[in-house]
């Protein structure tokens, strides 16, 4: 018996793991790849901000005042011009990427971790746990993020922490809902029953069998969530309840430039462009990821 039937699946030789498959589909989409390249470029800029815009020995690169050089339009020396203190806007935009990305990553990590835990517990255990947790999530959803941010900033000192809390709490329900939905479908599958039959504990089943099969939508959500977090962080800083000067933050820079917008367009133009490009790139990447994770969209 045994080898009588030859059943070689030729296609199977090519693919290794599912993630490999996802990457292969992702690579095929020019839009997604453009997004990824821009994001990687932004991350590199953030990492090497001190090299691109070095300090003068006394002040950090973004805070070198030169009042004789105020309000310069873009020129060879200051390619994005200077602001009302004569600071180089290019240097500030470059350093600003650090703040924006850092805030984005912290917010995503914070809201994703909590959201995944809440969603997984609610979806897996159901009944009372689900009711309590999901109603709590509904309460969070019903609070306008701006209002929440203002109250948190009022209660604490405005700054990085208040942004992270405000935007993080605002984003948490999205992760929890996405997670709960995928846990609900995964937990009904037969391999979960198989895990019970070999004596696996509930904790092990969640960790080893449920979570790994739910990550795809969460990864997509996190990419989109990064864009959302950066945008909201900029908005809060624009309103003055986020990152405080002199720390360069794109939203805060917009806010400063707002007063001079009639005469010195470059002060809002460049930080605004930075925000737009970053969000656009992240969304393109997120779209591509979502398509790549869904094999049904295979062309």
């Amino acid at each position: 018996m045994g080898d009588v039937t030859v059943n070689v699946n030729n296609e199977s030789k090519k693919k290794r793991s599912q993630l490999h498959d996802v990457w292969r589909r992702f690579r095929k989409s020019p839009i997604a790849m453009t997004g990824l390249c821009v994001v990687v470029f932004m991350v590199l800029v953030a990492l090497f901000a001190d090299v691109i815009a070095p300090s003068d020995g006394r002040n950090p690169g973004y805070d070198i005042h030169n009042l004789g050089n105020r309000f310069q339009a873009p020129n060879a020396e200051h390619i994005m011009g200077t602001d009302e203190f004569g600071r180089d806007i290019f240097a500030r935009v470059v350093h600003g990427s650090r703040v924006s990305l850092l805030v984005g990553f912290i917010v995503v990590t914070f809201s994703m971790t909590l959201g995944v835990i809440v969603g997984a517990i609610a979806g897996f255990f159901g009944k009372v746990a689900e009711n309590i947790l999901m109603r709590f999530i509904d309460v969070l959803l019903s609070i306008p993020p701006i209002l929440l941010a203002i109250s948190i900033a009022a209660a604490m000192r405005p700054g990085m922490m208040s942004i992270v809390l405000a935007v993080g709490i605002g984003a948490l329900p999205l992760y929890a809902r996405v997670m709960r939905a995928s846990v609900l479908t995964v937990k009904e599958q037969e391999f979960i029953e198989a895990a019970y039959s070999i004596g696996a504990s509930k904790f092990r089943i969640i960790r080893k069998h449920v979570l790994p099969n739910c990550i795809a939508p969460i990864i997509v959500q996190a990419t989109m969530g990064l864009a959302y977090a950066i945008l909201w962080a900029a908005a809060l800083s624009f309103l003055g309840i986020g990152i405080q000067p002199p720390t360069p933050e794109w939203g805060a820079m917009l806010s400063e430039g707002r007063m001079y917008i009639r005469d010195h367009w470059h002060m809002v133009m460049f930080p605004g462009m930075a925000i737009a490009i970053m969000i656009f790139a992240l969304n393109m990447m997120g779209d591509g990821l979502r398509d790549a994770f869904d094999p049904r969209l295979k062309k």
Partner: protein, 316 residues
């Protein structure tokens, strides 16, 4: 030591639905001796898979008793249940759905050993996984493959290896071949046969395919809508079915010859709704030899000879 490994007494499993109680398994009893196979056959939705799951306590029963080697399975606490599951395993119907797509073949087969702390180091685990793969006829080069890379037959072998990992004495085979190609079915059935002899396994073999059941089991129980209607050794049930439902079922097996045609009994109507079924014989509405008594009185499963049981007012 008694020869009986599994004894099921008056087992019931009802599901609560919005329309009422669904009687999935309704008062069934059977025994399986060590090293033997009981084939449980019936059409879709008759409760045969539910029976298998309740016996292993993957579902909690509504009433009844399950004795495994004399111990009451339904009364086991967490620790005892864990030990019981080392002894009683299950092979699932769908080899696509029953394997975690994110785990490699070796991880899936090794998981029971890791969970039950049967091995202390990686080298030993690896050795045992490779041995298990060899036992079920899987080449060791597949150890790092993912389930979706393999065909149905190989996937089902993974499922079997996982069930064997803890050296069980009893395996519920929940339609293990119905999702496979016919050519692969034979391979898997032969493998199960060999394993049964080698490891002295006891099977509860669930299937809707009488041809498959005939191949694997000495004893057969026919289920209809949550009840066992006939239970017998296989030679007499095929030669001389007693219950009208069994007769109809057997007449549906195709004969692979052109010149021979079996006289088919075509049943009329549909299977009645298992939600709050009326009293009387479950088969009453479709039976071709019903009597008045069948309408109101549910026939009990009665012994008619040493190895035969039937639940029918007419047949006995």
């Amino acid at each position: 030591m008694s020869n009986t490994l599994l004894e099921v007494k008056n087992l019931k499993k009802y599901f609560k639905t919005t329309k009422g109680m669904l009687h999935a398994v309704d008062d069934i009893s059977f025994t399986i001796n060590r090293g033997e196979t009981l084939g449980l056959v019936g059409e879709s939705g008759c409760g045969k898979s539910t029976t298998g799951r309740v016996v292993l306590r993957l579902l909690e029963s509504t009433a009844g008793e399950v004795l495994f080697g004399g111990a009451d399975v339904l009364a086991f606490n967490k620790k005892e249940l864990r030990r019981f599951r080392e002894n009683a395993q299950i092979v699932f119907q769908d080899p696509f759905a029953s394997l975690n797509p994110r785990m490699t073949v070796a991880e899936i087969i090794g998981e029971p050993l890791v969970i039950n702390k049967k091995t202390s180091n990686r080298a030993d685990l690896y050795k045992r996984v490779i041995k298990l793969m060899d036992t079920v006829g899987l080449a060791s080069r597949f150890e790092n493959s993912y389930p979706h890379e393999l065909d149905g037959g190989r996937r089902q072998r993974i499922g079997i290896a996982r069930a064997l990992a803890l050296n069980p004495s009893f395996i519920v085979q929940d339609e293990p071949v119905s999702a496979l190609d016919v050519s692969i079915q034979a391979q898997i059935l032969n493998l199960m046969d060999e394993l049964q002899k080698e490891f002295k396994l006891t099977y509860l073999f669930i299937s809707h395919d009488l041809g498959v059941i005939k191949h694997v089991s000495k004893n057969i129980a026919v289920m209809y809508l949550g009840k066992i209607v006939e239970m017998s050794d296989y030679s007499s049930i095929f030669k001389n079915p007693l219950h009208p439902y069994t007769k109809a079922l057997l007449s549906a097996i195709p004969i692979p010859r052109v010149d021979k045609k079996r006289e088919r009994i075509i049943l009329e109507g549909d299977v009645p709704n298992p939600i709050e079924p009326p009293p009387g014989c479950r088969f009453y509405g479709r039976c071709f030899c019903r009597k008045d008594i069948c309408k109101d009185t549910d026939p009990e499963l009665k012994q008619v000879s040493e190895t035969r049981f039937v639940a029918c007012h007419v047949a006995t």
